[in-house]
Point group: C2
Chain length 291, copies 2
C-alpha cells in the first residue's frame, strides 16, 4: 500500500473515489467529476437501492443509450423531462430584468431557413387558424435594433415539424428567416401553434408514463434572434390558452414568454389577410454582448 | 393554467420537476426519482456547466450506451469505477462485526462450475505460482458450518478469466465448487492471483485515463459461500503484496478481506504439492439469514 490511498467504506465512499483522481488531471474535469460523485453517492445513500433497483437503473440507462441514433437523442430527451436542459439553459442565460428570456432550443431547428420579406406567410400547407405576429426588436433602453435576424419555426396544425414529415408537409413548411427594418419592426404570417407530444415510444416515454406524466409540450413558436453586438436570444412564445401551459413536458414555459393572442373577427387588408385570424404583438429585447 | 403547476425557475427547479409526478405513481419510484432529480439539479447548480459541457455529458452517456452489448456492460463498468457498485453492495450487506464482509460480484461469475473434492487443483493450464487455500466455514459463534458450498473463480496468471479466452484457456480453468466437511473445513489448490485491467477500450476507460486513474483490479480470488439458513457471502480475498491493493479500480478492497499469503520453501506431501508454494489460511464467518 505504498501510496496509502484510503480503502472504501460506506461512510467515506465519495471521498475515497475522488481521492483517486490524479492531481494533474484537468482541473475542470476534476471539479465536475468530484461534484457528480459526491451527489451520486449522496443520492444512493438516501435511496438505499436494492441490487435489483440498481440493476433496473443500469438497464434503463442502457436502453436509453441504445435508443440514440443519428436521428433520435434519447439522453437529451431524458435531460429535458428531468428539467436539466432548462436548468443548464437558465444558468447560461441569466439576463437583466426586461430583456427577453431564453428557453430551450429543442431538436427541430434547421439552419438556413428561407429568407422572407416582413409580412410573408410561412404556412405552406394551409392548415390551422391564421396568425399574424408582429413587433419590434429593441435594446434594453427601448432603442430599435435594425437588421436583426429573426429565425422562426413551429409545428403545423397536426403537431409535427416539417422535418418529422418529409414528403407529407411541404419542405420548409412553417420556417422562415426575417429581418427587422430600420425601425426595428418585423412581422410574419403563420398559424396558431398547438401542443404536441415529445417522442414517447422509448424508455424516456415509458418513465414519463410510470411517473403519471403526459408527454405534451405547451403550444409555442420558436425563435432565434441575432444582431451584431447583441446576445443571441433562443426562445419561444407560448399561446396563453393552451391546456398544457403550466405542465410543459420539458419545463420550457416562463411567465414572461406567454404572449397575448388576440382574436380578430375580420380580415386585415394591410396584412393581406381576408378572414378572421389571431394576432400577436411581440417585442424582443436584446442585451449588449459581453466582451 | 387550470391545475396551477408552478412554472420553471432556476431557484426552485428541482421542486418544479418533482411536483409533476402524479400522486398515484408508484411510491418507491416517486421516492427514487425525487431524490435523483434533487441531487442532479444540485450538481448542475454547483458545476454550472456550459452548453458544450452539458453536450459532452450527453455524448459520453450515449457512447457508454452504444458500448453495451450482450457481452459488455459499460454502464456497470461506469458504476464500478465511480464506487457506486461497491456502495450499493455495502448498503445491502451490512453485517455484524466478525462476519465475513461482502464485496462486488463482478461480471465473470459462471453458474454450475465443476464440483471438486476438497484439496483438488482448479488450475488447469499449469501457469503461475502454486497456491494452497484452506480454512473453516463457521458461524459468528465459531461453530463449524458443514455442507457449505464454496464457489471459487479467478483469472489465470495472464490476468484473464477462462470466459475471456475461450479456446485459449481450458474450459472451467480456475473455477470450482467445493463443500465444507463435517468440521466445516474446505481446501483447494490454485495459483497466486495477479492484478488485471478492467476492459478499458471504451468510454469508461477513456474517462479513467483523463482522470489519471489506471484500470487495474488488485489481485484477488472470488468466492460465493452459501449454506442453508445463512446469508450468502459474495466476496474476494486479496493478495497482500499486490501493488494495486490500495487503488483497486473498482474499490473492491476491504481491510478485512486482505489475506495472509505465506510462502513455503518446500512441498506439502499431504496436499500433493511437490514444490515451493504459497499458502493461505482463510475462514469464512456466516451470519444467520434474517426472516
Amino acid at each position: 500500500m505504498a501510496q496509502g490511498y484510503p480503502l472504501f467504506s460506506e461512510d467515506v465512499s465519495d471521498e475515497v473515489v475522488n481521492a483517486r483522481m490524479a492531481p494533474d488531471a484537468d482541473p475542470r474535469l476534476r471539479e465536475i467529476m468530484s461534484t457528480v460523485v459526491r451527489h451520486l453517492h449522496a443520492a444512493v445513500k438516501e435511496v438505499e437501492p436494492t441490487h435489483e433497483e440498481w440493476l433496473a437503473a443500469i438497464e434503463f440507462l442502457t436502453e436509453t443509450g441504445h435508443m440514440c441514433t443519428e436521428w433520435r437523442q434519447e439522453f437529451i430527451l431524458l435531460s429535458d423531462i428531468l428539467g436539466v436542459s432548462m436548468l443548464v439553459d437558465s444558468i447560461n442565460h441569466r439576463r437583466p430584468s426586461g430583456a427577453t428570456e431564453n428557453t430551450i432550443l429543442g431538436p427541430f431547428h434547421v439552419q438556413d431557413a428561407p429568407r422572407y420579406e416582413n409580412g410573408a406567410n410561412i404556412c405552406l400547407d394551409g392548415k390551422g387558424e391564421p396568425l399574424l405576429v408582429s413587433g419590434i426588436v429593441q435594446d434594453v433602453n427601448g432603442s430599435p435594433v435594425a437588421g436583426a435576424q429573426i429565425d422562426v419555426w413551429q409545428t403545423n396544425d397536426d403537431g409535427f415539424y416539417d422535418v418529422q414529415q418529409k414528403g407529407v408537409q411541404p419542405d420548409w413548411n412553417l420556417r422562415g428567416m426575417f429581418t427587422s427594418d430600420t425601425n426595428g419592426r418585423y412581422s410574419f404570417r403563420s398559424v396558431k401553434p398547438r401542443y404536441y407530444p415529445i417522442p414517447n415510444d422509448g424508455p424516456v416515454g415509458k418513465l414519463l408514463g410510470r411517473l403519471g406524466r403526459h408527454p405534451n409540450r405547451a403550444a409555442h413558436i420558436h425563435f432565434i434572434v441575432t444582431a451584431p453586438g447583441y446576445d443571441t436570444i433562443i426562445t419561444h412564445i407560448f399561446a396563453p390558452d393552451c391546456e398544457y401551459l403550466d405542465q410543459d413536458a420539458v419545463f420550457g414555459v416562463k411567465t414572461s414568454l406567454i404572449a397575448d393572442f388576440e382574436y380578430a373577427n375580420q380580415g386585415d387588408e394591410d396584412a393581406g389577410i381576408s378572414e378572421p385570424h389571431w394576432r400577436v404583438n411581440w417585442d424582443f429585447v436584446l442585451t449588449r454582448r459581453e466582451r
